[in-house]
């Protein structure tokens, strides 16, 4: 079992004929993900990957023709907000946006638009979702994890892979891994994901990987204290980051003294969350 994506996922790939889109579609198919359609405006009627996936001109046409229930977005940053609106307006309830570099003002409009509808966005600037053995939606390498009972949620990409792999090496698997992304304004928060893991009968323990910037980890700590019965182990990246500098991710910045790793670690520890000193310590804290 899992959250958000599984073997019932019927996936649409927006931007399927682009370099990233086609490359990752191939990997998602190879993993066993049910990729049923792609969209590239102007390329409707074509088939990609040896006739495995039909391409449509718009999300609505793809949706009507194939009954997709999830969309993953690989279109460039300048078109990505529009791609999210297109999926939302076609009524797709779950949208995963991989694209990095979407302007923040675009994302504020997107988020406020989606909040008025019953639509979940994961990302942007995220590696996507992986439910080991069932579905891989996005760019998380499939072979670095295995099915298990640990829910993983993270703002990062490769740091998450590192943790999934370290878990696999000691025989621990994931129920679902959720990359919520490194942008300051995103679709799904730590709290949203923690709530889903708490409700998922096949998730027994949770790993939360945070980083500097914003107050999502602090809010997560409050939520954990009030709502979670399952144990949470955390790691927060960026203790050595200088203030006022954006550490790669648009959202990873300490501003006016707010968003420091120290504050986040303190908040998490104060509610009984075990915080790893470094990523390799996480598996032993889950034992």
């Amino acid at each position: 079992m899992s959250i958000l994506v599984d073997k019932n996922t019927r996936l649409l790939v927006q931007g399927i004929t682009g370099n990233e889109g086609i490359f990752h579609t191939e990997h998602m198919l190879a993993y066993g993900t049910n990729v049923v359609a792609g969209v590239t405006p102007g390329k409707g009627g074509e088939w990609v990957l040896d006739g495995k996936v039909p391409v449509f001109d718009s999300v609505r046409i793809a949706h009507d023709a194939t009954g997709v229930n999830t969309s993953v977005i690989f279109v460039p940053a300048r078109f990505a907000a529009d791609a999210i609106y297109e999926s939302a307006d076609a009524g797709i309830p779950l949208i995963i946006c991989i694209t990095e570099g979407i302007p923040v003002q675009d994302m504020m409009r997107v988020r406020n638009y989606l909040d008025q509808r019953d639509i979940r966005l994961v990302g942007p600037n995220c590696p996507g979702l992986l439910t080991p053995g069932e579905a891989k939606v996005g760019i998380i390498p499939g072979d670095i994890s295995m099915p298990g009972n640990i829910g993983v949620v993270s703002r990062s990409g490769t740091l998450t892979y590192e943790v999934l792999y370290a878990l696999k090496l000691v025989g621990l698997g994931a129920s679902t891994c959720v990359g919520i992304g490194g942008d300051p304004v995103n679709g799904t928060s730590f709290i949203d994901t923690l709530g889903m893991f708490e409700a998922d009968p096949h998730t027994d323990k949770i790993v939360l990987i945070g980083e500097i910037g914003g107050t999502d980890e602090e809010k997560a700590a409050e939520y954990i204290a009030d709502h979670l019965t399952k144990p949470v182990v955390a790691f927060i990246a960026g203790r050595s980051a200088p203030p006022g500098k954006r550490m790669g991710h648009a959202g990873a910045i300490v501003e006016s003294g707010s968003g420091t790793a120290e504050d986040k670690i303190k908040a998490l520890k104060s509610v009984g969350v075990q915080v790893a000193a470094h990523p390799e310590e996480i598996p032993s804290l889950l034992a």
Binding site: Q105, S156, A237, M247, G248
Partner: protein, 381 residues
């Protein structure tokens, strides 16, 4: 990307916000000429992208064109917090009765823009937030609707602005919203917005920070970037789309992924070392990119060792290893290199790298310790 005061105020003025008459100069003779043209006392304002210009002596009042020229000569030779002064804004001096703060910024936690105002203008708003938070009035703006006129009035009332100014204040609020929106700013602030002795509202100082992710739709604003504010290595890194930040330590870091790069810096520090940089080489890690990154890291003479921390994911370990090998053949160096390669095809990757003269490590902790040791060896040699 930060804009200078004169650039920010020019944008504000384009949207109907009243600013003082003034112009920018790069030499003292021009400063004198502008002061003569204005024909009144002027303020000489250094244009550098740091706070505290006034305290550092970078903002001075000149009663005559000659005084303006003398002060400009002094200021143009100055460095303020390490930044050289290349430009001076010469503004007509305003007689100030009241100073107000007015700004719009992104509230990431509310996922909306927020307009803030305070009757305690002229001071940094962060300081006001600490000292007298009750003096800050905030309204969140629906990003799908934009600023409503009543919100500006609520703010005006909230800071006890006399009613006679509400209409113009509303116009300034609208102008600031348009400036923020049309420039894709993450911050647009007027500090101070003053009431002059002639009872006029005037934006005496201004600041804008633009969203780097949105610069692609503002080629005109992109040209305003002042590279003086960042180390040369960061400017160079931007050319190769590398995410690089220079730090003060001695262990260079080459990592794929921002989160992993931060974690790598943290673990170096945890083990008693000091990272020399943050660097995310991204997913692909082609040899060209690795070589460029390596040259940038090694351009810092403090660097005594370089730690590669690479996770082979979609980009497999052997492909990354070939990239690193090619880069090492191109960039010759004596600086010791430590590599930790894990994930997909890591074993093949390690074999490829065995012909390079690199110290290998299994774990992150092990890699950090070996890099610190290698750096110390270099020190004592």
């Amino acid at each position: 990307m930060k804009l200078h005061e004169y650039q920010s105020k020019q944008i504000f003025s384009n949207y109907g916000i009243p600013i003082p008459s003034g112009r920018v100069a790069t030499n003292a003779a021009d400063v004198k000429r502008i002061a003569e043209e204005l024909g009144r006392p002027v303020v000489i304002k250094s244009q550098v992208l740091v706070g505290g210009r006034g305290k550092a002596g970078g903002i001075r009042l000149a009663k005559s064109p000659q005084e303006a020229e003398d002060l400009a000569t002094q200021i143009l030779g100055m460095e303020i917090k390490g930044l050289p002064v290349h430009k001076i804004l010469v503004d007509e001096a305003a007689k100030i009765e009241t100073e107000i703060y007015l700004g719009i910024t992104n509230d990431r936690s509310a996922r909306k823009p927020v307009m803030m105002a305070s009757s305690a203008g002229g001071v940094e708003i962060e300081q006001v937030a600490v000292d007298t938070p009750e003096k800050i009035v905030k309204v969140h703006i629906d990003p799908l609707l934009g600023l409503r006129d009543y919100q500006s009035r609520d703010i005006a009332a909230g800071i006890d602005l006399p009613r006679e100014h509400w209409r113009l204040f509303g116009q300034i609020g609208r102008g600031l919203w348009k400036a923020y929106l049309s420039s894709d700013a993450s911050l647009a602030e007027i500090n101070p917005l003053v009431i002059t002795s002639q009872n006029q509202l005037l934006a005496v100082d201004g600041k804008m920070v633009l969203d780097d992710n949105a610069i692609f739709r503002h080629p005109d604003l992109a040209e305003m970037r002042d590279v003086d504010v960042e180390p040369e290595s960061e400017t160079e890194a931007r050319k190769y789309s590398l995410s690089f930040i220079k730090l003060d330590g001695y262990i260079g870091c080459m990592v794929n992924g921002a989160g992993l790069a931060m974690a790598t810096m943290d673990i170096i520090k945890l083990n008693g070392g000091e990272p020399a940089n943050f660097l995310d080489i991204g997913g692909g890690a082609s040899s060209e990119k690795v070589a460029a990154a390596l040259r940038i890291i090694l351009s810092d003479s403090n660097v005594k060792a370089v730690l590669f921390n690479i996770f082979g994911g979609i980009t497999r370990g052997d492909e990354v290893a070939r990239g690193i090998l090619a880069a090492l053949n191109e960039v010759k160096t004596e600086v010791p290199m430590v590599i930790r390669l894990v994930g997909t095809n890591a074993e093949e990757g390690r074999q490829i790298l065995s012909e390079a003269n690199m110290i290998t490590a299994e774990t992150l902790v092990d890699a950090a310790k070996k890099a610190i040791k290698a750096a110390q060896g270099e020190n004592s040699a």
